[in-house]
Amino acid sequence: MEELLRLDHLSVEYQVKDGYLSAVRDVSLTLNRGEVLAIVGESGCGKSTVAHAIMRLLPMHNERITGGVFFKGEDLTKYTEKQMVKVRGKKIGMIFQNPLDSLNPVYHAGSQVEEAILLDGKAKRQAYDETLQLFSEVRMPDPEKQMQRFPHELSGGMRQRVMIAMMLSRNPELLIADEPTTALDVTIEAQIMDILMRLKQEHNTAVLLITHNFGIVSETADRIAVMYAGQLVEQGTVYEIFDAPTHPYTRLLLRALPRHPKTDGRLQTIDGAVPRLTDVKNGCRFANRCPLAKDICFSYDPPANSLGGTHIFSCHFREEALAWKNL
């Protein structure tokens, strides 16, 4: 498989009043062509920050990025802003959680997609035809009519379709979908995910899916990376993570999913709370809630343990975690 994107010890820190706040710490990942990699985690775990760091969409005044973001072997962190403009949309497309925020309210849905196509120096007529084509490709009902509508006249699902059409118009090699269906009904969510998965297959696009929804992940992802408080705690194929979660956090989290009726017992809960990012410096950030934690966990970053193949988890106590797993 051909490697498309590689994050190499990526860290993102924000400068705050007294020092630095570490939002993402030492994340290393690879994403191959045609693959769906899901970054999952609870709010504040840094999953969106990773996505924005790849696209260099962070606020640009108080952050410090270290490590590398290699897209087809080239380090995007070294690119100038002018070079990045050519990457965004053309090479890496992105769709966001709330499409209404991403669409211009005073232009028709169709003309916003046409605008994206015109960037590639195509004729107006051709842009119109391509847009119509794209609208039907994303299963927009009555595409010609919807092109003449304003974003506020469209339903949430249709707006997200416009965003997908816009993203597709430039035919990117990598798609970053940041919580693409969070605001939608389950039926519409399923339709949108079906469209994304079909497009992935037809165009062999790689997808980086950012979500907190384990249901979507289990249905669509090839591989999963689990984040907690800015650290990558475990990664592996969807089956490795769902069948044999090894990091204590992943294990507890998966047991907190409502998968059985209450008569079969209560859901697992995780005691304690996520640490404030201003308080953490070194060490495993899950340590204060971890049943296996010892002194070392609070002072040194945990090493990455390989469990063969792509299954990696970060923990000081490899053997204990494996043994605990079998309890």
Partner: protein, 334 residues
Amino acid sequence: MEKPVIELHGLKKYFSISKGLFGFGAQQVRAVDGVDLVISKGEIVGLVGESGSGKTTLARLILNLTKPTESFIRINGTDISHAPRRELKKLRGEVAVVFQDPGGNLNPRLTVGRSIMRPMRIRGVSRKDAYEKALKALEIVKMDPMYMDTFPAQLSGGQQQRIAIARALVLDPQVMILDEPTSALDISVQAQVLNLLLDLQEQMQLTYLIITHDLNVINYVCDRVFVMYLGKIVEYGTSAEVLRAPAHPYTRGLMAASPNLNPRSREKNAERLSGDPGSLIKLSPGCRFAPRCHLATDICRREDPQMREVSSGHCAACHFAESGVTTKEMSLSL
């Protein structure tokens, strides 16, 4: 059978959206259109459906925040829709509510303590008693008393939802309406809140009506489930039964769309629903689901299907419910 806590029959709520010239051509949104619902004491009942299906309007009707167009609602045998004002005040205390977005439903300028005390203070409980009770309520939702003096903005989403639950509990309600209680929360927090709700229900014999679109949550907490589509109940039964063998094609579609928590059953549920839920304004005659239904025939477009029993206590409003065409076994996330 226990005596019903909530009872409503043929309940309707129409909203007028345009009067038209001299009242001609007036348009109505039929948000709730002939709903029957009977909930016994101590039951946990789920209400599912897409947005715009009328779930929240139904909840508002039960809370007496809006008056029905037709029929009435009985809470513990008393008709709340036509009760005199004085009695209403007492009745309102019996039905409590917890909303989806806890941050938006707590007054940002009131401390947690004052928010929890407020319903009691309005009812003339002395400040001292109200304070005592608020402390107790905090303890019940497993929060430290030190939070009495904090403001909602200083709390996390899960903590805010606990406060909302504590506030709902202080008037000793019999019924709690939970409108998407966990959809804004993270998974681990969702588990905490759901467990808390189950514990409270057991300890206090509460009755819950949980409105959600998450079938996994329904599967975990609910005894029975009602499925709503465009203002009507299309299927109901015990949640085990409905989720194992859904009889209405809409329920089947919802289940197919609902994310499955087992990656090994990816291809199993392929019966996707297409299209959006229709509009509640221009309703065609016949079954409301017919335009999206793959089983629809002429009779569906002509006649509105009646509720029919599929098995004991499990009913569906579909012309083909009994024929077995619709009941193929499905499994959710197991």
